[in-house]
């Protein structure tokens, strides 16, 4: 099922899913609000963070080269991939050369874009997710429903059953400490025997060639420290110019995401293990993934999409996301950021429904820590989806153009430009409007979810004349 409007009712009629999301999003919204209680401090910090990302986007090509040069000088191998297929091939090549049979993974949305786990399993390499949420959905063979909290759609009971079915020696328990301890036991052995660790990157610092990763569990640190080989995956936009930009971005990211002043761990990696050091990977690779981002970059307005630091605040505050959950969007990035990013990465011809799954209420715009004008971009993409030839910025532009809609608007335009046509049409509707069945073509889509309006017996002009107004 490809269309959002077909999937949404299924989610809306699932009371468990509705409850799970409502509870989680309410909690996240109030925790975030408490973190930014001082409006002046929020405004100053947000402006600093937004401009840091705006500068990084404006200078993207030279910063990528600087990052590459710095990383290389620090001993990190840098790879470039135009497509997810290329990125998968690069990762596989590195792993095969090292003879790796098992990788342990920290959370990475880019790896979800690549469908890396599936790809590696197809080549005989086992990929184990180690973030607790990712581990849970890997057991359930599901995709993340949120970019920060991947298993937020599941409740305790569902997770308890999943663990009882999959972990040897563990009975059904809803005790969160017991569930967490069970995951620790299983995954600790996986860490100890993994041949490589794979992670994402939250911020890459061009000035120093440093990869910054934030997390609470310690699985990210383990994945990037214990195995002999570390492969980091990042989208080409995840850059900061200088180390100076890291502090404001670190102050915005966890507070916006989970309402925490700081994550338990901020892990800054600048090189592989140096001579004399006792641990850390012997080799570190960085894979830079484009996958449509450089096309987004071509358009000056759409380019703002690339500021995103993936905090998830937009989805936490979205009235649509909260009600339908992340899986309804079908693609890797759900919620408002997904609605603007997915059609640009995948094309409007296959994700053109996404920008329409919004009320344009502006809640996402108000909380975005890097000031992405999400509502403007949603409107722009809606326009692109019905105007072929408007610009070449987005793949599949005009793919949602329909003859019905075009003709309706042409008719509307004609009516409003010609007073005689307007008078004729309104008088006709006043006399005959109530005779048109609700299921008539053109009207059906509107009346499928609304009561058909009742037409008054006289037009506004006729009523005005009756009251004695002869000229408008």
């Amino acid at each position: 099922m490809s269309d959002f409007t077909q999937r949404a009712p299924i989610a809306l009629n699932d009371p468990t899913l509705r409850r799970n999301f409502r509870r989680a999003m309410d909690g996240l919204m109030s925790k975030r609000a408490a973190q930014f209680a001082d409006p002046a401090a929020w405004a100053a910090l947000r402006e600093r963070g937004a401009m840091a990302k705006a500068r990084a986007v404006a200078r993207l090509p030279e910063l990528l080269e600087q990052l590459e040069a710095k990383c290389t000088a620090n001993g990190i191998h840098v790879h470039w991939a135009e497509t997810t297929a290329q990125a998968n091939a690069i990762v596989l090549g590195i792993l095969q050369k090292a003879g790796a049979k098992k990788v342990i993974k920290g959370k990475s949305m880019v790896s979800e874009e690549m469908e890396l786990n599936h790809f590696l399993e197809g080549h005989g390499i086992k990929a184990v997710e180690s973030d607790l949420g990712e581990y849970i959905i890997q057991l359930a063979h599901e995709a993340p429903s949120h970019i920060v909290m991947p298993c937020i759609h599941k409740n305790k009971g569902e997770i308890a059953q999943l663990f009882a079915d999959n972990i040897d020696g563990l009975g059904y328990t809803e005790d969160v400490d017991a569930l967490t301890a069970a995951a620790r036991r299983v995954l600790r052995d996986e860490f100890a025997t993994a041949d490589a660790g794979i992670s994402g990157v939250n911020v890459a610092v061009a000035e120093t060639g440093t990869l910054v990763l934030v997390e609470n569990e310690g699985n990210g640190r383990l994945s990037t420290t214990l195995p002999p080989l570390h492969i980091a995956l990042m989208g080409i936009e995840k850059l900061a110019e200088t180390l100076d930009d890291v502090a404001p971005l670190l102050s915005l990211l966890p507070r916006s995401a989970t309402g925490q002043p700081i994550t338990t761990y901020v892990n800054m990696i600048t090189s592989p293990r140096k001579p004399g050091e006792k641990d850390g990977p012997q080799a570190v690779h960085l894979v830079l993934l484009d996958s449509g981002r450089s096309r987004v970059y071509a358009d000056e307005q759409l380019r703002d999409t690339l500021r995103c630091i993936r905090c998830g605040a937009c989805m936490n505050h979205c009235p649509v996301y909260t009600r339908v959950g992340g899986h309804t969007y079908k693609f890797v990035y759900p919620g408002p950021i997904g609605k603007i990013l997915t059609p640009q990465l995948e094309g409007l011809d296959c994700a053109g429904d996404q920008p329409h799954a919004s009320t344009l209420c502006n809640a996402c715009v108000e909380v975005c820590p890097v000031k992405i004008p999400l509502a403007d971009l949603l409107v722009r993409l809606r326009t692109e989806s019905v105007h072929s030839g408007h610009s070449q910025a987005v793949k599949g532009a005009g793919s949602r153009r329909s003859l019905h809609e075009t003709l309706s608007w042409r008719g509307w335009q004609f009516m409003y430009a010609h007073p005689w046509a307007y008078g004729l049409a309104t008088r006709l509707m006043a006399r005959l409007g109530n005779l048109i069945p609700a299921k008539a073509p053109l009207m059906r889509q509107w009346t499928s979810v609304r009561t058909k309006p009742k037409f008054a017996g006289k037009t506004l002009h006729e009523l005005a004349r009756d009251k004695g107004f002869d000229h408008e």
Binding site: R48, M51, K156, R184, D244, I262, M268, K278, A298
Partner: protein, 215 residues
């Protein structure tokens, strides 16, 4: 493949119309009065589920033994560090067994992953704004010492506690001397992935003990 990809990606980015580069607005991270700083640092760490003890330079080894009594049978230390040397020279028989992290991880994996109860590291600084320890692992003090044992004990000198991260980065000139790895630690390992219920010790230490040395 990577070379062609690089040329194509950079080519597309360069072909796009340039926009002006916005100026960076001024922003100051929060600062605190001198007499508030340490109090805030300790209090925030406790809020973040850490156990904080304020100790003296002379008395911290004794305090460490007291803290670990009944909780840990073994303590892993970095023998080439100042704190490691001091403990080796002055440690009692009834205290937890000292295990030196003195060989590459490949030779010590089993001990590290399953065999020790606690690990001791020294923080290079503390940050009052967020209740954060700054770890700067090196050849003498390995990275996994603060990560694999279920209890992480960190020493931090009160004089090294600063207001915020930007100040620390500037004062210590980080941008010209980033090491292999820097870690900011704010509390024990935790997760809220199951119904937003906090649980500690999911992968890293379940307990974080901070000894603040008054100097």
């Amino acid at each position: 493949m990577s070379e062609t990809a690089r040329a194509n990606i950079l080519g597309r980015l360069r072909a796009a119309r340039r926009t002006s580069i916005p100026a960076l607005p001024a922003w100051d991270a929060p600062a605190y009065a001198v007499d508030e700083r340490i109090g805030r640092f300790c209090q925030l760490l406790e809020t973040l589920h850490a156990e904080v003890h304020r100790v003296t330079e002379a008395g911290w080894p004794q305090q460490l033994r007291t803290v670990l009594a009944g909780r840990a049978a073994s303590l892993m230390v970095a023998p080439e560090t100042e704190s490691g040397r001091r403990l080796a020279a002055d440690w009692s028989q009834d205290a937890p067994r000292l295990v030196p992290y003195d060989r590459p991880v490949e030779e010590m994996k089993t001990t590290l992953v399953h065999g020790v109860d606690a690990g001791l590291t020294t923080a290079v600084a503390g940050i009052a704004e967020t209740g954060t320890l700054v770890l700067w692992p090196d050849a003498a003090e390995p990275r996994l010492l603060s990560l694999l044992p279920p209890i992480h004990v960190a020493l931090v000198r009160a004089s090294t506690v600063v207001d915020n991260l930007p100040e620390l980065m500037r004062d210590q000139g980080w941008s010209s001397r980033m090491p292999t790895n820097v870690v900011l630690v704010s509390g024990p390992s935790k997760t809220a992935d199951i119904e937003q219920t906090l649980a500690y010790g999911v992968h890293g230490p379940k307990e974080l003990v901070v000894l603040v040395i008054e100097d």
